[in-house]
């Protein structure tokens, strides 16, 4: 059952081969056994999980089960969960038991999903290695001396090690796709505005978007379908009819060329220097497989892609410095034990509550928004953002989706980039532009590097093309078995 797909779990639950309580217990036991080594969870909610599982079993018995009723899941600790610690990986919120649920959390609760707990993450989702967490680094289940990626590293590691079949995540610059690639699983970040940001602790609001992790595109499609939908409490939530992303996948597939007619664009900038040889080989082998399935490939260009990182490191810190001003030690979160006047209380509470990377981004944001620098930095970055978004639109005139590596290398060793933030920023070169444009992106496993660590293939589509991305990835996964590879338990 541990390695079962979502449809298999559904059938087993519906056929009463296993109860939701038994299933939750199976995964909770696994977390208890393996998490001490991986540190993928900040909070394991044994009691809450078993209570939801009992309720799910009643729904199943009453014939009232949906696609996810009774299925275990873990939430990234960025999502507010009522009555459960919601730390965001920070000392600042290490005492924050949320008084309310995020929209995503309440949607999944209503669907009967069983939350096993909250996963570890880079502090306030700022990082690409999960080493900036106040709760310590997460370890990659394929090799515990390596990072799992970030910022949703705990979610990705937990799914890869099968501590949970599903997990939620968020993606501001690659934080779902990059850890999915590093951990050998599938992850999708939908179009900006599809998943409500209500109760999702803000980092950079015009970029933050909730996403889904699973072993396969099919599992991700089922989870994402339950996470999306209009929410009036998020001012950027999109009013669109609800979409079932799994429906297209379930359609019967006849013949050996199910992707006949699909045009895949390969941005020449993503295949230039900077990509490791083993990543290139795996990505090209995956593209050969896509062509065997009927797809054609065409070279496209994203000429401003290299500017995505500098533009992002203006826009994201600017929004972060504004968003994180709410953490002042007054209404919730950490307050310094000793202080003099009010300004001293703010300064000390924030100095103690935030880690080094969060402080750096707050200071960069404060600078670029300062009087006299606003035009040169913030507006310039926003103009580049439009140029980058226009590049994608031009490229997508020539193709149905864009493919390339998710990351330039496999997961690096713990500590390797700890002292060089800029080097770590540069590792997000293929993912960040997608957030600036607000497009959907997916990462799926497509091989292993010379070090035995997983490699991801990124697919990017036009706005609202989630179903096409998931369908393409699903057909690839029906013909290959990279997504079925699992790390050894004691890695």
């Amino acid at each position: 059952m541990i390695h079962a797909s979502l449809p298999e779990l559904r059938r087993a639950l519906d056929a009463r081969q296993i109860s939701s309580v038994e299933l939750a217990t199976l995964f909770l036991d696994r977390i208890d056994a393996l998490n001490p080594r991986l540190n993928a969870f900040i909070t394991v909610d044994h009691d809450g999980a078993l209570a939801s599982a009992r309720a799910a079993d009643e729904r199943i018995a009453a014939g009232d089960a949906g696609a996810l009723t009774g299925i275990p899941l873990a939430h990234k600790d960025v999502f507010c969960t009522e009555g459960v610690l919601t730390s965001c990986g920070s000392k600042m919120l290490s005492n924050f038991v949320s008084p309310y649920d995020a929209h995503v959390v309440s949607l999944l609760k209503s669907a009967g999903v069983v939350s096993l707990g909250k996963t570890n993450m880079d502090e306030f989702a700022m990082g690409s290695s999960n080493e900036s967490s106040y709760y310590g680094a997460v370890r990659n289940p394929w090799n515990t001396a390596h990072v799992p990626g970030g910022s949703s590293g705990g979610s990705a590691a937990a799914v890869a090690a099968r501590l949970t079949p599903l997990a939620t995540g968020t993606d501001t610059g690659g934080s779902v796709r990059q850890p999915a690639a590093f951990c050998g699983i599938t992850g999708i970040k939908p179009t900006y505005g599809l998943v409500s940001r209500y109760g999702m602790i803000a980092y950079a609001s015009s970029l933050d978007q909730g996403g889904a992790f699973g072993a396969s595109a099919e599992d991700c499609a089922l989870l994402l379908s339950a996470m999306t939908g209009f929410d009036a409490r998020d001012s950027t939530s999109l009013e669109r009819p609800h979409e079932d992303f799994a429906a297209l996948l379930a359609a019967p597939c006849s013949g050996t060329r199910p992707l006949e007619g699909l045009r895949i664009g390969l941005p020449r900038e993503f295949f230039a220097e900077g990509m490791a040889d083993d990543v290139r080989a795996a990505v090209e082998a995956a593209l050969t497989q896509y062509r065997a399935l009927g797809a054609t490939t065409v070279e496209v260009s994203l000429p401003n892609a290299r500017l995505a990182i500098p533009a992002y490191y203006v826009i994201a810190p600017a929004e972060c410095s504004s968003n994180l001003s709410r953490f002042d030690g007054v209404r919730f979160g950490h307050r310094a034990a000793e202080y003099g006047d009010l300004a001293d209380m703010y300064g000390k509470s924030r100095a103690e509550g935030f880690g080094a990377e969060v402080k750096r981004r707050i200071l960069v944001g404060t600078y670029v928004l300062s009087h006299g620098y606003y035009d040169a930095y913030y507006l310039q970055a926003q103009r580049l953002r439009r140029m980058i978004a226009q590049d994608f639109q031009a490229a997508l005139q020539q193709c149905d989706l864009i493919a390339g590596p998710t990351t330039p290398t496999t997961a690096w060793a713990l500590g390797q980039m700890a002292d060089d933030p800029v080097q770590m920023y540069l590792s997000d070169i293929y993912t960040i532009a997608v957030n600036l444009a607000g497009l959907p992106g997916l990462s799926q496993p497509c091989g292993f590097g010379v070090d035995g660590l997983p490699i991801g293939l990124q697919l990017v589509g036009d706005y609202f093309s989630e179903a096409r991305l998931l369908h393409s990835a699903h057909r690839f996964q029906q013909a290959t078995d990279w997504h079925s590879c699992r790390p050894a338990d004691a890695a």
Binding site: Y313, D341, L363, Q382, G438
Partner: protein
């Protein structure tokens, strides 16, 4: 671009983050590295490009001017660092 320790200290004060002299020194080096990266933007001619603040062109939604929220003060203040009689307590601001 190269920030001085004084400039970093000023930014930290604006951002209400108390940094010691040692932290300012360490932070300054890292910030200068980040600004070297950001400076690459300046070489690009963006004349005539409309700034893009958001991926979707959305107008702010309007709603009827009616009460939609319940009172959560009790629950919200339970997690506050210091409250009294329904108020959040902070150091005295006005003597």
């Amino acid at each position: 671009m190269s920030l001085s320790n004084d400039q970093v200290g000023h930014l930290a004060r604006l951002a209400r983050v108390a940094l010691s002299e040692v932290e300012i020194d360490a932070t300054r080096n890292k910030l200068n590295g980040i600004f070297d990266l950001i400076e690459q933007m300046q070489a690009v001619d963006t004349t005539g490009v409309e700034p893009m603040s958001h991926p979707q062109e959305l107008a702010t939604r309007l709603r009827d001017d009616v009460v939609t929220e319940n009172d959560h003060r009790g629950a919200f203040q339970q997690i506050a660092p210091q409250t009294e009689a329904g108020l959040y307590l902070v150091p005295k601001v006005i003597e």
